[in-house]
């Protein structure tokens, strides 16, 4: 195709302007189609009615929301979700920080340890959940047996109301903390060594160095990681589903599980959708507040 100079210039300009959007289009359309469109459907279903052939129809109103709130278990489930989230993020952060501090020191074989510690994070959550369930079992569980060897009393951890949630929190933290460790380690290694050397010259001991140099240095990363961990723990499903299925009773049921149960056990898609919308709103409020808090810190 022959073009004169003007046409060629116009074609080049067109190419320059359009190439970006064209490259970005497939990914954007895919995500829009798989997230935005279902989300719109979610809002529709939550305020309406779902027919057996999966189309939405009226009457549209807030009746599903009312029904969900009337169920009466939302208070307990919300509490469980809060306990679960706070507990698991706290434990992961503590373990991650400790292990990052340890692995930040120089000693032989530290990269080997780093790789090994990371293994649980790569294992399917289902596998980790079953492994810990097997370990926590009443008589044959290795944990109870080891405890009794030390003269301590073992327990049916996963079937007692008071111990089920802590047991789940420990399991979840066990395979999630390597990620925190990884992120904090990277942040620590970005702290300039001169700061530490200057502090040592000034006579600061290890604890003071940690408090005044390390902690402030990794604050931004830590805040970001904790936000991510919070969102991931709100999202958690497999661990609880496999190990206790929300039990005993509803002692370990969190929001995600209730949505699943309403939709696929009681086949009540409308109530499940209403609950899902509530869940999303809560999460977004929380994420926005947290993010604003983070940005203000910086």
């Amino acid at each position: 195709m022959q073009m004169n100079a003007t046409q060629k210039r116009r074609w080049d300009r067109l190419r320059r302007v359009l190439t970006g959007p064209i490259l970005v289009a497939p990914g954007t359309l895919m995500l829009a189609g798989l997230i935005l469109y279902p989300f719109c459907q979610l809002v529709l279903i939550s305020s309406g009615d779902l027919t057996p052939d999966f189309s939405v129809q009226g009457p549209f109103g807030l009746h599903n929301y009312a029904r969900i709130l009337q169920l009466g278990l939302l208070g307990r489930v919300a509490l469980n979700t809060a306990v679960w989230t706070v507990g698991t993020v706290a434990l992961q952060t503590i373990l991650g920080l400790l292990s990052a501090l340890v692995l930040n020191q120089r000693f032989p074989g530290r990269s080997v340890f780093r790789t090994l510690i990371f293994v649980p994070f790569a294992v399917p959550v289902v596998v980790s959940a079953m492994t810990w369930e097997w370990m926590l079992r009443g008589e044959v569980g290795i944990i109870n047996v080891t405890l009794s060897q030390f003269g301590l009393e073992g327990r049916p951890w996963l079937t007692l109301t008071n111990t089920a949630m802590p047991a789940l929190i420990v399991t979840n933290s066990w395979f999630m903390y390597p990620f925190v460790m990884f992120a904090l380690l990277a942040a620590m290694q970005a702290v300039p060594a001169e700061l530490y050397e200057a502090a040592e010259v000034d006579g600061a001991n290890a604890w003071q160095r940690f408090l005044n140099i390390t902690l402030p240095g990794i604050r931004p990363s830590m805040g970001l990681v904790m936000l991510l961990m919070t969102i991931w723990s709100l999202n958690a499903f497999s661990v609880i589903y496999i190990m206790t299925e929300g039990g005993p009773g509803i002692a370990t049921e969190i929001l995600g599980l209730t949505v699943f149960r309403q939709a696929f056990r009681y086949v009540n898609f409308e109530s499940a959708s209403a609950l899902a919308v509530i869940m999303l709103i809560v999460q977004m409020i929380f994420a926005a507040t947290y993010a604003r808090f983070l940005l203000k810190e910086q």
Binding site: Y37, L98, R110, V119, M135, V140, G256, F269
Partner: protein
Amino acid sequence: MSRLIKSIVSSARAGRIFAQTVSFCCALILTVFSLFPMLWMLSTALKHESEAFGMLPHWIPVSPTLDNFKSVLTGGSRFFEGSLARYFLNSIVIATGSSVISLMIGILAAFGFSRYRFGGKQVLFLGILLSRLVPTAVLLVPMYVVFSRLHLVNTYQGLILANIVSILPFAIWMLKGYIDTVPDEILDAAEIDGCSTLGTLLRVVVPVIAPAIGATLMFGFTAAWNEFLFALVLSHDVNVQPVTIGLALLRREYMVQWTRLAAATIIAAIPSVAIFTVFQRYLVSGLTAGAVK
């Protein structure tokens, strides 16, 4: 005077050795904490059922056996149609498909975000990143409804699409970070040489960002391999269900054989652990390059 200096230096070295030893021990404790559950599972998998339940729990199997692995790979049972092998195959198809497609779409988008200017670019990029914040449980119901309408339930395509949702934003983010570090001169030179956009991309950019590509594939494969909730809802028979669901089904049998289950969990965990361990150094460089921007 020199003796004083010598004693100061040697105590500093002693202090360092002490710190190193303490760190080493702590690292050892942490590693044991991280690994002992998997090792216990391996020990259980190598025992006969009678040994696992009959005797007091012990680490080294008295009479080790590979029967559990064999039976779980070939045999069947009431709820566990077919064998673990089929679920394993499904996982391979889904994980490979999700990660490869996410990579291809992601690299195009990352290139577009990185090198080209257009209206709404920042907002769009931020939107893509924020989409990761949507809980799976929230998407669960509408996705099931939409997929049912489109006859995508219980298909490989359906599960691959669902996994792409999780993988794509991260892929775009990481690839973009890496592409940002490619010097402009190289790309301009390619364009002057007459390369088309796609040509530039394939011949120039891809070799340079190879670590990020490795990291994306690794992340995508592992994420899809370990996925559970979407698979639970969007598939319901052995033709499509991945190994994570297969494990859960094996678990739900009314007479759970924990030794067989242990063998199954080990088999199910091997691919994602292997790929993760081999490629994790790419993840390090991929992430730090993305963060440097």
